[in-house]
Symmetry: D2
Subunit: 301 residues, 4 copies
């Protein structure tokens, strides 16, 4: 099939290449010259503008957005919408908030343009291992574009599916990332306990390796733990500072909104917040209070 990829950063370019390998034709656009050049070197037909990208595609056109979540998505859709015709389709494969996707689907439907929101997991490994794709939007459209998803997924019949109406694909991906936070934190805590237990002199990478086969905790994240710990057993040079990119927050907010108790996903997020606040005011007040009622003294900071 023919596809126009908008956004040729790491994710967009990799996905484009995987589609090429799958026998599809991929044109692309990115505002950055370097990104366009790099994509072209990988076989993607880099175009100079959204307009030329749209012109390069046969109707009905399929435009796949792989740009950062937020206003850039709205700006891109606003620029794209006048260029499209009824029957064309826009896909957002980024980490957009699902309510934004619901709104955008309605906006495009006004012009007869189709919409799919595709929650995409796989990170930088997706090029070789394939991407996991949860798709929200019109079922017939998802069916029509099945060859694209089959090429992106780890296998033609596995790792992708249309899960519900517009928004559902990004909703599922949001929850996926919430789960991911919890899984990561569980592993991180476990290895921290092993690391602190100095009397056993455990080789953390070895333990991770042993668990990779046959254990209840075997998983891809454990594979990555093993890889990280083999490469840098003491995790030297890595600060205890953990960024987050939004989906965890949304998941926590959604859980509360739905009255679902999600203590582990929530704590995983909170620990990330705490990791970035070494001089936490709350802890300083605790230290002050201990001094105030018990004369316990405090560490000067």
């Amino acid at each position: 099939m023919d596809l126009g990829m908008i956004g040729l950063g790491r994710m967009g370019a990799n996905m484009g290449e995987r589609l090429l390998r799958g026998g599809h034709r991929v044109a692309g656009y990115d505002p950055g010259d370097a990104a366009r050049a790099a994509a072209a070197a990988r076989g993607i037909e880099a175009t100079q503008s959204l307009a030329t990208l749209v012109e390069a595609l046969p109707a009905p056109r399929t435009l796949w957005l792989m740009v950062p979540a937020g206003p850039i998505v709205d700006d891109t859709i606003a620029a794209l919408q006048p260029l499209l015709a009824a029957g064309d389709a826009v896909i957002d494969g980024g980490n957009s908030f699902y309510r934004d996707s619901q709104r955008r689907a309605v906006q495009l439907a006004g012009d007869g343009v189709g919409w799919l929101d595709v929650g995409t997991s796989g990170g930088i490994w997706g090029l070789e291992e394939g991407y996991s794709l949860t798709i929200g939007g019109d079922a017939a459209l998802a069916q029509r574009l099945a060859p694209l998803f089959a090429a992106l997924a780890p296998a033609p019949e596995r790792g992708w599916g249309r899960v519900g109406p517009a928004g559902a694909g990004h909703f599922a991906k949001m929850v996926h990332n919430g789960i991911e936070y919890g899984l990561m934190q569980a592993f991180a805590e476990g290895f921290a306990i092993l690391q602190r237990k100095q009397e056993f002199g455990l080789d953390l990478a070895q333990v991770a390796d042993i668990w990779r086969d046959g254990s209840v905790v075997r998983s891809w994240l454990l594979d990555l733990c093993a890889q990280s710990l083999h490469g840098n057993p003491g995790l030297e040079g890595i600060a205890a500072y953990v960024a987050d990119s939004g989906e965890g927050r949304w998941t926590v907010a959604e859980a509360i909104d739905l009255d679902v108790a999600a203590p582990v996903i929530t704590q995983a997020l909170i620990e990330r917040l705490r990791s970035r606040d070494d001089d936490a005011f709350a802890d300083r007040l605790l230290a002050a209070l201990r001094e105030a009622f018990g004369g316990h003294g405090f560490k000067r900071g």
Copy 2:
């Protein structure tokens, strides 16, 4: 090699059979007639007592305990110790507390009997898929018995290893189970959020399946989630009551003892406690307090 398996319940009998398949000779003992008969039917040489089991093995003997953690382990070792000779070895493959294993290693060493504590993961799937084994104890002894571990593990060179001195094998297994609690809780919360979001009408088993390939959260526990949700999408007939078998508690206690913050593993345990206390006094007091200061009323129970 020759091995005597003590405890022919589900785990012990399965491990015995896997050892038989690996070409080893397995004698066994269990106080239960039915367990002995069932094991015999699977090819294990069932003996009538610990004494006859020990007699059935050539020196140096290897006795593998697969009995419930706690006093039964001490009782069995006490009964076994007079029957053994220097050079023999006792292996505890159950979920014993690691400090007990450290103590038992010392106790047996007094008679020249070797000791290995083997943290065993894999559950009822281990017979077919192999067991993950973290081994604590003497390195030379672990090396001598390597053929046994190679047969039990998923592959001869993977899924097992000697990780440290006596106690280290069970310590690693304890932490493994703590991680397992966190992973399970993260998945459980995520699927609960998906389930509560009724507007999308998500098929949870389908979402689980999609994530099994290519996603960041792909894992064996996710495979089991998918299986459970396919078999019983609404989880009908299953009470919101989650048992625990000790290792989670030990992991939490150990984390605190080591001054390691483990909020997620800890919350995963606490949620299990809460699940078993539907009439929680704390929540009733909260309801009473809301009435007391705000006149908010409470639900009668």
Copy 3:
């Protein structure tokens, strides 16, 4: 001073009465006949409409809203705004979300109408003990209306103050309630531990009483714990079901938005969610998973 109280429910009527006791004149309006009649019986000049209420007050008028947070506040302000003149003032003493208060202040300022948002704590005890009031809005306006606050507060010079611009009063109250959730949960957990420790046969009300004097945990909420436990030592007839009225959720969302780790306030909210979900899907999935990997069985529900 003269004041018009809009909303003559428990909070509004009690505050009206306390203002009367303080020598102020209080007119009032409520859409409910019974509420108006009850207020009139307590000395409040009950009027039949917002219009008659406004007419009953000398300029510059002070209208105090004591209605449920949410659309009713907007509806009331919309109805009120055409009746008011530059120099009049609207006060929202309810539990509105602080961003709504910021918006409403701007809306009224367009007509030259002043605004104060007053975070009001004290519950049903406020009539006798006075209310704690955190005030957001114009400093000069707050100063002009000081006699009202002095009458409502526990003492003329204590328990009230203008803390910042519009929104700040409700923001502080929101955080107050978040803290309240944490305090309540801490007490609830502590008494639950005491209650479960049956070997000591503790009299919880007695322990609460002892702590009320001299201990580090002495507090008004402890006073209420003692009162509740004296009146109903086993908390019989009270379901383990804890409602919440919004401020806790907002506090958690705000903490995350500000990147502040607030694990205890957050857990206190989550426990309330959990208390209302006896058949929690997450726990049922945990039970299903334990069966799936370990054959542990589950409780039927």
Copy 4:
């Protein structure tokens, strides 16, 4: 009454002075010369040894231990026991673990020596404001020594009581401290949220002051918050490092042992652990994992 105070540190000397003010006679012993001299200057009859202390008291003697929890208590009791006679009494007013107190009661009962464990709260403010005392042990003995407790408590009839058999006094105090952790953390988080909300420019000490009168969160810990924030609004010079002295850990362990869900008390402890681990291994592994699967980069540390 006559009393021998063992341990003349801050707590012991203050309690001795309060007993003197209450009309009792207080002899005392401390291994430190300076502590003895300071106590003597406050009117306590300082003796040179446990033996001379015991000799200085009329039978039946009352010895009150105010020494650090742990082996010093056992050592002191071991030294004291041969000096005592049937009918004498030993009181432990420190923060001992309640199971140790149960054991010590039995040990002393073998010689006919009575025992009381007195959970003492009040910190450095107790001298002036009185101590809250939960008493475990023989009811008749507690009754006989009531004048001592009446003098130590904030008022003769309030703030003290015999709550159960030996151990119960320290058990209640342990839970008191667990609650204290939760309360402190709730306040700390709340003020941290207020502090971070820079747009309102809140004066935290002012807000704390307002809440001290009439609000639901009014409490002694809030009084201390106000005091700390008045003295040092930015908490300058105080490190975000929070020590703990054991009772919180015991409370968490006890809650788990009793199958009571105590998420808030537990999280309050965990946050203290985290505050002391700025270079947390868990967080470094999280950062490594984010890099490994998403190429997100990490902060160098």
